[in-house]
Symmetry: C2
Subunit: 196 residues, 2 copies
């Protein structure tokens, strides 16, 4: 049975690998990110990577997607918790994404997007990405319902909110400009405003 200290060490190295994988994959996609590079950047060895992820690159990628799902979900939730109006919260969220992007040279985009498009033919990967998107939509949808929007309208709006955030972040990265995210925030406020 593991001691009380060993698991901490274990999770530190493991989490370092997962975090690095997520960051690299959101910068250069799934195919573009090598396992050896992940190990090097995470200051771990190849042996450690395959020790924690016997399933290889795919298992690591699935874990990284789940990690990123939680990361962005927390950003959504905290934005919605800070602002009481859902529209203002989504605008704040868009602006936060723009700040993050500008801070790291427009490299770290949506963690799931870059990986998703390359791995749609793999059922497991696609399912993981779909789970992330559905999770995020659920957070937005709940907040909208709590804000007085009807159940059906809220679910539909959640689709568009997540879609426009994804698309605007991509646009901002390609253009190296926060403009797409800024106007997306304004338009989301305007769109959500028509539902009250």
């Amino acid at each position: 049975m593991p001691s009380t200290v060993a698991p901490v060490q274990e999770m530190q190295t493991r989490e370092r690998i997962v975090c690095t994988a997520a960051r690299l994959m959101q910068r250069q996609g799934y195919e573009g990110t090598g396992i050896k590079l992940i190990a090097r950047e995470a200051k771990a060895t190849l042996g450690s990577v395959y020790h924690f992820f016997p399933g290889g690159k795919k298992e690591l990628a699935l874990t990284a997607i789940a990690f990123s799902e939680k990361e962005f979900g927390d950003l959504l939730a905290s934005s919605l918790a800070t602002e009481n109006d859902p529209g203002a919260a989504m605008q704040a969220c868009a602006n936060t994404l723009a700040e993050y992007l500008a801070a790291d040279g427009w490299a770290d985009g949506c963690p799931v997007t870059a990986t998703a498009l390359e791995t749609l033919d793999d059922p497991d990967m696609r399912a993981a990405c779909e789970h992330a998107f559905a999770h995020w939509r659920g957070i937005v949808s709940e907040a909208l319902v709590a804000g007085g929007v009807g159940e059906q309208d809220a679910q539909d709006l959640a689709y568009t909110v997540i879609s426009v955030l994804e698309g605007a972040e991509l646009t901002a990265q390609v253009a190296r400009s926060p403009k797409a995210l800024e106007v997306a925030g304004r338009h989301l406020v305007r769109l959500l405003g028509t539902y009250r």
Copy 2:
């Protein structure tokens, strides 16, 4: 000097390679698509590929992006030409994208998106993707101005229109459902409707 027949043959083979490259890259991204696979699928040999594209994979990818830029630009333009209301045109465009996606098993998404995210660190590739996005925004913006929307509002709306189409197409691919694109079309109609 080339004869009048030889260039036709030349362009046929060349275009076959470009078209195949664009299709494969929109399915599996830049890194995930090998040059040898492109040659095989295009029924050309490796020698032909490097004959027409001495710059190798990158030059071919840049050409494929330009090809895709025109392809989606034409879809935008034809939708705007068919419908007289820009909002209805964008909704029709979203529905057309949904039909295409469903027809090919949700594989052929936006040609630029998949490539863009992996190659943001390459200035030439990023510039090509940015050029495509800007081109598409220009088409939408012009149509909005022609529809009576103010110049500044039209430019801002063009950002969001393209962003939401990109994001909704990605969402639809991952979910294997046209829903994201359908609601995106409805919400675009609604958003554009507030500007008249």
